[in-house]
Structures are given as structure tokens and as C-alpha cells.
């Protein structure tokens, strides 16, 4: 029964992950697992010092835990499900003895919980490192999704010759865009490490490390479903060996915080003495709900977390944040808040239509690990897509309508004339103009040639020009964070209007250029250029648009 529920939950988690793409309907909360995770919400609220509506979903899980107990770990958690399913596959033959350090190790999860919460209080978000839902979503995005698509395409390639011969055109033409990400190996290795720890003890991760489990265990002893052992218990210890959480104590005792109600012990008991009856009362008197962490341990963790959070901010990355900005997704909060609110789940990068959203490594320091940035030389931000905000569980990227998103200016294109084919080599290249969805590239006649220039008030930084620029190596036109609009609240359309930006280009643009025929350029030209070698070539170029003789 439990395995079926777990499998269903894992399937749902995987399905919602798969559905996170640009076609996502507004009503479907694909990030629901992340929203339900109270630890992510808590940390983002603490670190960002602002209430997040979607984080309130976490209260649902807290409430359910108070009502029922720590069932989440045994039935709902997709990482728990994966560890449970892999355990018999990987460690069936492994003889695992009870760890001597069990009691001490069990406290580690409280240390991580306190450490990360304290760091959040100090203004640094680190909880994503070990939060199971964030970690698993991230693993799915960077570690599993790309190889999955790769394998599917490989299979399709294998059957393609046959399909072509049989004229099964649907199969013959089928191929999926291969997603690629930075940091996919490291993300997968961390996940592999967590699985490998299962060699030491079943659910090693859940027992000893998981900060979400630690948080839930603070409430679970209040749950009404509690493990009871009959008074006839001969203390055979079989349930203790079977319990994947180390929750069964000697002589029929139970550690209420550790028990995840998986009922493995019920099956293990030879005398059927174990039951999980619904108790009408709160915690029976005398039973403790507190973790074993000592006051000293608590204080050390607290101090460590605050210190760590504080120290992370004491680096040049912090003061440089306003100057060396990365190109963040449209609708991303102002950089400081963005870093504290983003939980690095990778959902935005998974759903990104063009794959331009990539995890940062060290570009924003320790505070920016795995945060999304745009890799515009690789792919552009599609103006008809606004999925990254829709799937963001903490709204570090605000969910915006397409109209609003269009006005969330990412930056401004900067033309590097020394590299531009037209400026530097007088070639006939107009790709940036051709591709620009906002008509922000105009041509001006300079030195007898029509040369591209950027109208910054029309450029919203989508990066199509940077991606498509045919110059080898770095692009001759790059998006700099100049003029980016990052709002915590309020309308981007209104802000853009205030700044006199116009992302709905004027259709008469090219005509305007033709009519003016570089009027202002001519006199300057003659001043700076003493020779008149070039001008003869100019008339035809100035009178007629490109491509005509």
C-alpha cells in the first residue's frame, strides 16, 4: 500500500516536472511540491524578509503533520520514494549494522535545519543545498532531464532508417530539442552521493541529514496517528532492525519525532503487537517531542548559521551586485532579494522554452550558486513565453502576463563596432536587424555604408541579436544589463512608460531611415574624412535600400 502511494506521488512529481514548459496553463501549479515544502517557504521568507503568497502552501503540510504525523517522509516525499525504491536494488546484499553514532548523527539534521534557518535570518539563502524537494527538482532538471531526452533521441535515431524506409513520417521526422545545462554533472554527483549513503543505513539521508524531515519532526509528535506496542512485547528487537528511520527504541518505545508511520515495523513484528491507532488526545504526558539536540548544540548551530550567512555577504560580490549584474530572467526581483528568495530548484531552467536559462556557478559568488541567468550567446529569451515566472515557487521570478513580461527589460544590446562585420569589414550583414523582434536595430548611413545601430529605448534585451550574430567567437552585439528593469512590486508596463521605452516598434522605421538618408551624417563625414575616395560609392547605397541595384 505504502509503496503504491509513494510510486503515485513520485509519478505525480515527475509528471508535473514534465509539464513545466511554455505551454503551461495558468491554473496548473506544477511547482506544487515546492510550494508545499514549508522549509523552502520559511527560508525564503526569512532571508527575503517579505511574505510570499505561494509559500503559505507550506502551512498545509505543517497542518497535516500536526494532525497526522510525519507521514510526508514515508508517503509523499519523492526523494524518500526514490531512496526506498533504490534501496533493495542497490543494497540487497549489503549487511548494514546499526551505526554506533546513530544518536549523534540523528542530530545532524537539526544542525542543518538550524544552520540554514539562522543563515536565512542573517540574509543568506542556503537551505536549497539540502532541502530534498529543491535538491530533487534540481537533479531532475540538470542531471536527469538532459540524458533522458538524449536517450529518447538516440532511440528515435535508431529506428529512423526503418521509419524512413516504411514512410512512417511521424516517427521519421521526430526528434526532441536536446536540453543542455551547466553544472549537470556536479548536481547529479550530489544526488548520487545521497543515494550511496544508503549503504551505511537505510534512508541515511532522511534519518540524519534532511532538514525538511527535521522541521517536520518538530511537529509530528503532535500527530494523532501514533505507534503503540502491546505490553506483551518481548523486546526481540526485530522492529528496531527493520525500522528504516531508527525510530523504534528498546522495549517497545518510539521516538515520536523520527517515526514516519511507514508501518514497516508492523510487518516485522512476529506477534502482531504493533499498531497505529488514531489517538484522540495530544501527546501523552511524559513523552518528549523535543529533538535530542543539546542547548549547546543548538546555540553553536545558530551561531554558525548566522556567522556563515553574515560571512557570505562580506565579499566583493555583495557591493558589486549593483554593477556586475548577470542577465536575470524577466521579472526577477532586484538582485539582492532575488538571491535570498531563489531556492535553486531549477524549475525555471527546466521550463525555459529556448534553454537560455542556465545555472550560475561562481558568477555571483556563493550566494548565487545555481541561480538562473541568461546565456544569450547560446539562446535568446523568447518574447512569446513567460513560463519562468509561472513556475517559480517563491516568486523570485515574478509571474507576469506576456504584456508585462515584454516590458521587464533584461538589458540593452551594445554593438561592438570593432567586431561587427558591417562596421569593421563593410560586409552586407543585417542579421541582428532581421531577427530583432522589437525593431531596435536601425541602419544609418555612415561613410557611405548603411551601418547598424541600437535604439536603446526599443531594446528589451531579449538577446536574439547576440545569439544570431554570425561573427565567430564572441558576439559583436551583446546584451549588457544597462537599463534593466527589476521591480519588487508594481507594473513593468507603467515603469517602461515612465522611462519612455517602447517595445511595440513603429512599423515605419525603415522608411524613416530612407527618407532621412543619413542627412545628419554627411557633413560630419566630410569633416572627419579628408579624402573623397569613398563617397562616390555612397549615392546608390544611400538612395536605395539594401539588396536593390
Amino acid at each position: 500500500m505504502r509503496a503504491a502511494v509513494q510510486a503515485l506521488s513520485l509519478l505525480l512529481f515527475t509528471l508535473l516536472f514534465a509539464l513545466a514548459n511554455y505551454r503551461l496553463p495558468d491554473w496548473l501549479p506544477v511547482d506544487i511540491y515546492l510550494r508545499l515544502d514549508p522549509l523552502l517557504g520559511l527560508s525564503a521568507v526569512l532571508a527575503g524578509r517579505a511574505l510570499i503568497a505561494r509559500a503559505l502552501w507550506g502551512l498545509v503540510l505543517i497542518g497535516a503533520t500536526i494532525l497526522i504525523g510525519r507521514f510526508f517522509c514515508a508517503y509523499v516525499c519523492p526523494l524518500g520514494a526514490i531512496l526506498d525504491f533504490l534501496d533493495p536494488v542497490l543494497f540487497r546484499r549489503t549487511k548494514r549494522r546499526r551505526l554506533e553514532a546513530d544518536a549523534k548523527l540523528r542530530n545532524v539534521k537539526y544542525v542543518t535545519l538550524i544552520l540554514f534557518s539562522a543563515a536565512a535570518l542573517a540574509g543568506t539563502s542556503l537551505v536549497y543545498l539540502l532541502d530534498p524537494i529543491s535538491l530533487l527538482t534540481r537533479t531532475y532538471t540538470f542531471g536527469l532531464f538532459p540524458p533522458f531526452v538524449g536517450v529518447v533521441n538516440l532511440l528515435l535515431d535508431t529506428v529512423r532508417p526503418l521509419a524512413e524506409a516504411m514512410r512512417w513520417m511521424t516517427v521519421a521526422t521526430m526528434s526532441y530539442r536536446q536540453p543542455v545545462y551547466y553544472m549537470s554533472v556536479i548536481t547529479l554527483l550530489i544526488f548520487a552521493g545521497i543515494v550511496a549513503l544508503g549503504r551505511l543505513a537505510p534512508r541515511f539521508w532522511c534519518r540524519y541529514l534532511c532538514p525538511l524531515g527535521a522541521l517536520l519532526s518538530l511537529f509530528s509528535p503532535l500527530g494523532r496517528l501514533r505507534r503503540t506496542v502491546g505490553p506483551e512485547c518481548p523486546a526481540c528487537g526485530l522492529c528496531q532492525d527493520a525500522c528504516p528511520m531508527g525510530a523504534a527504541e528498546d522495549e517497545g518505545g518510539t521516538r515520536p519525532g523520527e517515526c514516519i508511520q511507514c508501518r514497516t515495523c508492523v510487518a516485522a513484528c512476529p506477534q502482531d503487537l504493533i499498531a497505529f491507532p488514531a489517538s484522540p488526545r495530544l501527546l501523552p504526558a511524559g513523552e518528549s517531542s523535543r529533538p535530542d539536540l543539546s542547548r549547546r548544540g543548538f546555540l553553536y548551530s545558530m551561531a554558525g548559521g548566522v556567522g556563515l550567512g553574515f560571512l557570505v555577504e562580506q565579499s566583493p560580490f555583495a557591493p558589486l551586485r549593483d554593477k556586475q549584474q548577470l542577465i536575470r530572467p524577466p521579472g526577477a526581483l532586484p538582485e539582492g532579494e532575488f538571491l535570498t528568495t531563489c531556492i535553486r530548484c531549477g524549475e525555471c531552467m527546466k521550463s525555459c522554452l529556448t534553454n537560455t536559462l542556465q545555472p550560475s556557478l561562481w558568477e555571483a559568488g556563493l550566494a548565487g550558486l545555481w541561480t538562473p541567468k541568461l546565456e544569450l550567446r547560446f539562446a535568446a529569451c523568447e518574447q512569446e513565453c513567460n513560463v519562468c515566472g509561472k513556475v517559480c515557487p517563491t516568486q523570485a521570478i515574478r509571474s507576469l502576463s506576456l504584456e508585462e513580461k515584454t516590458h521587464a527589460k533584461l538589458g540593452t544590446a551594445v554593438l561592438r563596432k570593432e567586431m561587427c562585420l558591417v562596421w569593421a569589414q563593410d560586409k552586407l550583414c543585417l542579421i541582428c536587424d532581421e531577427i530583432c523582434p522589437y525593431d531596435a536595430i536601425v541602419f544609418r548611413t555612415i561613410e557611405g555604408y548603411r551601418r547598424p545601430a541600437v535604439v536603446s529605448s526599443r531594446c528589451n534585451g531579449c538577446g536574439y541579436c547576440e545569439q544570431r550574430c554570425p561573427v565567430e567567437g564572441e558576439s559583436a552585439i551583446v546584451i549588457a544589463p544597462i537599463g534593466q528593469i527589476r521591480l519588487r512590486t508594481g507594473s513593468y508596463v507603467a515603469e517602461a512608460k515612465k522611462l519612455q521605452l517602447d517595445f511595440k516598434p513603429n512599423p515605419g522605421d525603415d522608411q524613416f531611415i530612407l527618407k532621412n538618408e543619413g542627412l545628419r551624417v554627411e557633413p560630419e563625414n566630410k569633416d572627419t574624412k579628408g579624402q573623397s575616395a569613398k563617397p562616390p560609392a555612397a549615392p546608390s547605397a544611400t538612395k536605395k535600400p539594401k539588396g536593390f541595384l
Partner: protein, 306 residues
């Protein structure tokens, strides 16, 4: 598309046309009668496309039973027909339907998009329009594995080019361009539109003189039929728009891709100026390679309303 087909037939027909009496427009003509060089039909996109092809002798002149056909419309921008950067889906639908009626085994409607393939498929409307047609596939090829390199024996600037395999393997290519302005080549119609079938478009801009490269490409990609959608013309801001749109309400069909484009040049002012086909550098270059007639004054042009 191996090199010479299309041309010989067209020359033959033109020779025949000179000796034969003019046929009555609009009436079904007997087989072997002289077809006009160009059919210029005004009216609703679907009806005009149909009538234009019929005026040339019907689709069975180009597509035989059991053949595989590739249609190349413009659908590489994620925008609808109102933007005039893509071929009207009704034109594509009408032509695909005629191919099926002529007995085509399968019709592949292809492009290599400039924006996200998924979005282009959705917004261009071709996928939707053709979803009820059996054996018609609307596909975007963005993966290198779907391309194959061929030599360009008559190329002046282009030695080799990688083309969508399906195009190379199908006996019939029909070009369905949208009439629009183009910031690098002046206009983009049939000849320029075929650039959507190749892998490395960037090099046309960065490495080669694009107008010469287009003429080179036209020597190896030889559509049997070109149906130019000038129901709307994007006269500025092309190829992607947005820009000024006028509505000539015309569909122009012919077997000579240069002549079709050349006529297309004449139907609208481009960037506010009237041009002739000969003034478009890539059309002139292509005609100089013997690929078609750029001066259309002498051609037999049938005009009608659908």
C-alpha cells in the same frame, strides 16, 4: 532536387506556347495546350492559390501519382498572417490539398525556423490549417542530423551547402513564399525563401555576398512550381516585421522562380519605392546564371480573379 528538371519542361512549353493560340482564361484547358508563364490571380488566398495552379495546367502537371512532395512556405517567424512575415496558411493548405488530389503519396511542409520551432509551428497557423489533411506533415527541422551536404557545381561563391534531406530525397519541391521586404536582400520571395532549407544561414551573411550565394543556391534547389503569396505584402520591416503591410490580394504562380519573384517585385512599393525585378541583386544574379527570366515584360501572363 537534381539540377535540370523543370527547366527543360518550361522551355519546351514556352516554345509550344509561341506557336499555339491563346487559351481562354478561366476555362479548363485541354492537355498540351499552352499554359501561361505566370498566373496572377486576385482574390481570397485559398481560392486564388487554387485558381493560379489550375491556370498553369493543374497540379497534375507537377505532381504525379505516388510522388513525395515538399512544400516550402515561409513559416519561420512566430507570428500570424496579419504580420505578413509568413505565408498565409490558407495558401499552404490549398496547395497541399491540390497535391493530394493529384495523387501525392505524402506532402511534407518544411522550414527551418528563426525563432523557437514550437512557437513558429503554433503561431504561423500552417500546422493547424493542415491538421485534417491525411499524409500531410508540417515539420520544422532544427537538428543537424536532418541535413545533408551537397555540392554546388555551378556555384560562384558556394561550393557546398547542407540541405534538409527530405528536400533532396523528394522528387517535387514546391516553393510557397510570402512576398516581403528584406533588410539585406531587398525583397524576400521564392529565391530568398529557399534559404530556409539550408543549415548554415549565417555564412550567407558573414562569409559570402548573400545575393551571389542565393543565386548559387538557386542552381541546386529548383522548385517545380512557385506559388507566391502576395495577398499581403510586408513592404517595410521585413523579413520578420512588424512593418508596413499593403494588400495586393494576389497569388502569383509560375514554373520560373525568377519570373514569379520578378512579378512579385512589381506588385508593391518596397520601402516606399517602385522597383523592377532586374533591380533586385539576387534575382538579377540568378537570371544571369540562366535560372529564369527577370524581365517579365515579354512573358505570357494570365490575369484573373478568383
Amino acid at each position: 532536387m537534381s539540377d535540370s528538371h523543370g527547366m527543360t519542361r518550361r522551355d519546351l512549353l514556352r516554345g509550344a506556347a509561341a506557336g499555339l493560340a491563346l487559351s481562354v482564361p478561366g476555362l479548363p484547358r485541354p492537355a498540351g495546350a499552352a499554359e501561361p508563364d505566370l498566373a496572377v490571380i486576385s482574390g481570397d488566398p485559398a481560392a486564388a492559390a487554387r485558381k493560379a495552379v489550375e491556370a498553369l495546367g493543374g497540379m497534375s502537371r507537377f505532381v504525379r501519382k505516388g510522388q513525395r512532395v515538399v512544400l516550402k512556405p515561409n513559416m519561420s517567424f512566430a507570428s500570424g498572417p496579419d504580420r505578413a512575415s509568413n505565408t498565409h496558411p490558407a495558401v499552404v493548405y490549398a496547395v497541399a490539398q491540390m497535391c493530394l488530389e493529384a495523387g501525392a503519396e505524402q506532402v511534407m511542409i518544411l522550414d527551418n525556423p528563426l525563432q523557437s520551432a514550437e512557437l513558429c509551428l503554433r503561431r504561423a497557423g500552417v500546422s493547424d490549417a493542415c491538421k485534417n489533411l491525411k499524409n500531410v506533415y508540417v515539420r520544422m527541422f532544427t537538428d543537424h542530423k536532418f541535413f545533408r551536404e551537397i555540392r554546388v557545381p555551378q556555384g560562384k561563391v558556394l561550393d557546398r551547402v547542407e540541405v534538409i534531406k527530405e528536400v533532396l530525397d523528394s522528387p517535387v519541391l514546391i516553393s510557397l513564399p510570402q512576398a516581403k521586404s528584406h533588410s539585406a536582400t531587398g525583397i524576400s520571395m521564392g529565391v530568398k525563401g529557399l534559404m530556409g532549407l539550408i543549415w548554415d544561414r549565417g555564412s550567407f551573411h558573414s562569409k559570402h555576398n548573400i545575393n551571389q550565394a542565393l543565386a548559387d543556391l538557386a542552381t541546386v534547389l529548383r522548385p517545380k512550381l512557385t506559388v507566391l503569396d502576395a495577398t499581403r505584402a510586408l513592404t517595410t520591416g521585413g523579413p520578420g516585421g512588424p512593418g508596413e503591410i499593403i494588400k495586393p490580394n494576389l497569388v502569383i504562380a509560375g514554373t520560373d522562380p525568377i519570373a514569379v519573384d520578378s512579378f512579385g517585385v512589381s506588385v508593391a512599393p518596397w520601402y516606399g519605392q517602385q522597383f523592377k525585378g532586374r533591380q533586385v541583386e539576387h534575382l538579377l544574379a540568378a537570371s544571369q546564371r540562366g535560372l529564369g527570366t527577370v524581365d517579365i515584360e515579354q512573358l505570357n501572363i494570365l490575369r484573373a480573379t478568383a
